[in-house]
Symmetry: C2
Subunit: 406 residues, 2 copies
DNA sequence: GCAGGTTAATTCGATGCTTGAATTATGACT
DNA sequence: AGTCATAATTCAAGCATCGAATTAACCTGC
């Protein structure tokens, strides 16, 4: 329900700013051409953005005999954003400039394996203070804080977190954080923030329809439709790991059976390897080293386990292809990377076998380009995305300006 | 990439028109309140719409002592729309007024079981002429023709149809139809048009996130996200029937194995019944009567087959819940209706068992309220949806009006 | 039947935004 | 230094919305 002529301005600011932020530096003329706005309006809007310090001129390019064009880009130093990754074992807090260059990072192990919400909030707030101190950035120079958190984040007036496995039920994390800081808070599921990072800076650049899959100990996905993350009615869309792939198959920690996660999550893969070894414990002191051992083993038992894994994973991806018809599927997450580096082709073949021909032909399956650290990066993009969507509307209160007569 | 101040007008026309079309009759004041537009603007825009004949005044309601409000609604007779359902066995062509009341219908059996595109086009064009003649409606009084067709419809400059099973590969159906009529053509997959019909007039009214499942001989779905049908990159999203539910299970006609359709499509159900009967042929002379026989049988073998069917269908729905987090899942299609009437509760229970608790709690699973005839109805909504989205912009050429001086 | 009250709808001046054409700015080439 | 070419800015004109004031339509009570 749009309304007034001010919305127009806001929208056009948003269009130009997004074009400058997400694309290469451009001249005012380029902006006019790509946005469809007239030269005059571009000049006008850009002038405003420059005056506000959001956009800066960045060099000249001579143009075939005429006046050289001045290139414009977003001012990386105009403000900063903070990304927080609340994982199941540790918290990572990172400050970036607007160009998403990291300025300082703080990583803390989580105090407990079944963390108490209040303790997590305390640790996050500590991390915020500490990371700002290290980077020498004041609170006033921060646009906002994005928080990527395990579990399902239900958006609403105030976002809440559900995490069945550790007993969090509708924890009002956003309100709790707001109570401890005046910085704007943006809360989102960690898998989705990683998806956002891959979408903007990784294997999903420039794509409108994509699914970023996240394979770690568990399995998740972020579905991007028309360039934006799908959330569904209550933001819990994308639970790919708990779709049934083997009817009445292996029990899953979600309580159901035969979920994808119960086959291709790292924990499940290692379980299957152990079973294939006749119950003998698998080598490695943690999941990561065990999975590495499996991938390096080379013996027939290990190969069989891996072949099955590729089959399950390919089938899961085929389901994504048939349901979402994406341009790209990205395999990410630490286990996803490990598996993909070793056998992405095989996974792709399995997916081809099981997907409908036509949509499969439209999809490219790729390895993620960012590591798991990108959860914080993706979280930090949340305030930026909001800035771009708002057109950086300064939301200035209606200025009571009394013009002096000429 | 929006632009000018005219877009504002178009958008606000669209808002008001949609509110009038999709909602109950409203006064100008009501419109102002719900849309956020000022009284003056509403009056202005509505005046335009009335002058164009799109909107009419519909009665007065007195208002507690003051001037009674005049209610407004879309003029049902302003224009007409045609819906065409190109099924695998027959073609149905139907004229509606703008309020979607049917005025005339033509049904023709399809000439061949493996229809030739040119023959189909000929039959559709014949149907158009015939149905207009019967309804006494001239071509000039038709807003557009929506065509719901089996197979995958790839949108683009000109929509094409892919239907692997009958050998249609990128058939340029839109172009072929345009060659035979001047009426605007809108092409879409039949399952999606049925979804649109349920969304506007059936079990999906007022819902923003829904999945309309379509269970017939085959299995499909229309996914509605943020009130609009998801199409994915090349419009083939929503192939729920060909998601893998039983890894390496029963072979499916798509070439893969273990697809949902290979278990809960009517053909598959009857196959499984036959197998459970030790290979004895099932009663009934066609799929519909056979399925009815299965549902009426009551014996332990039949009940077992049905119980399994409920399990598979429930699992498939649980996958939809986990992936899309919809507010509503609608079970439609002739077989879906038959199954749902008998055991929707059981299907719901199976879905609850297998879905994540939180998103399942947000979803209601309901039986479709419209029959299969609604494919044509849904197709006919396509031109209407376009009208609403365009704000019925008359796309009038810039009027060169020379105002006479006062 | 007429004044006063109440709510609905329209009118109109003020304001803000985009456009398109004209103007100014900036540099290369001769 | 003059001419050409391209980029950016300026400015009057045209649209669209808003808010306040006005007009319209009907009710109630005396």
């Amino acid at each position: 329900m749009r309304r007034t002529v001010r919305d127009l301005r806001r929208h056009n600011r948003s269009v130009l700013l997004s074009s400058l932020y997400l694309g290469d530096p451009q001249s005012r003329q380029d902006l006019g051409r790509t946005s469809g706005l007239s030269q005059g309006t571009v000049s006008n809007v850009v002038g405003e953005l420059i005056e506000e310090g959001l956009v800066i001129e960045a060099g000249l390019v001579d143009s075939d005999g005429g006046r050289p064009r001045t290139l414009l880009r977003v001012n990386p130093g105009h403000t900063h954003v903070i990304g927080v990754d609340v994982g199941e074992t540790r918290i990572r807090v990172e400050v970036f400039d607007l160009a998403m260059r990291p300025l300082a990072t703080v990583v803390q192990p989580l105090a407990s394996a079944r963390p108490d919400p209040a303790a997590v909030v305390e640790q996050v707030l500590d991390g915020l203070r500490e990371v700002l101190r290290r980077a020498g950035v004041g609170e006033g120079e921060v646009l906002g804080v994005g928080v990527g958190v395990f579990g399902t984040v239900e958006q609403g007036a105030e976002a809440t977190v559900h995490a069945q496995t550790i007993g969090w039920d509708a924890v009002p994390l956003e309100r709790m954080l707001r109570a401890g800081t005046t910085l704007p808070i943006y809360l989102e599921n960690g898998a989705k923030t990683l998806g956002q990072a891959e979408l903007w800076f990784g294997a999903g650049r420039g794509v409108q329809h994509a699914v970023i899959t996240l394979v770690g100990s568990g399995v998740g996905a972020a579905v991007i439709s028309n360039g934006a993350i799908s959330r569904g009615a209550t933001s819990s869309a994308g639970e790919w790991g708990h779709t049934c792939l083997v009817y009445d198959g292996r029990p899953c920690r979600c309580g159901s059976r035969g979920c994808l996660e119960a086959y291709v999550g790292a924990e499940a893969i290692l379980d299957r390897w152990k079973a294939a070894r006749g119950g003998h414990a698998v080598p490695g002191r943690d999941e990561e080293s065990s999975l590495a051992a499996l991938l390096a083993d080379g013996g027939p038992v290990a190969e069989q386990v891996l072949a099955e894994t590729a089959g399950y994973l390919g089938a899961g991806m085929a389901n994504l292809v048939n349901l979402f018809n994406p341009e790209r599927i990205v395999l990410a997450g630490w286990a996803g990377h490990a598996l993909g580096r070793r056998m992405l082709d095989r996974i792709r073949d399995e997916a081809r076998e099981r997907a409908l021909r036509h949509p499969f032909g439209q999809t490219s399956i790729q390895l993620g380009r960012l590591g798991l650290d990108a959860v914080a990066l993706g979280a930090a993009t949340l305030p930026v995305a909001d800035l771009l969507a708002r057109g950086a509307a300064t939301d200035r209160a209606p200025v009571l300006r009394v013009d002096a007569p000429a």
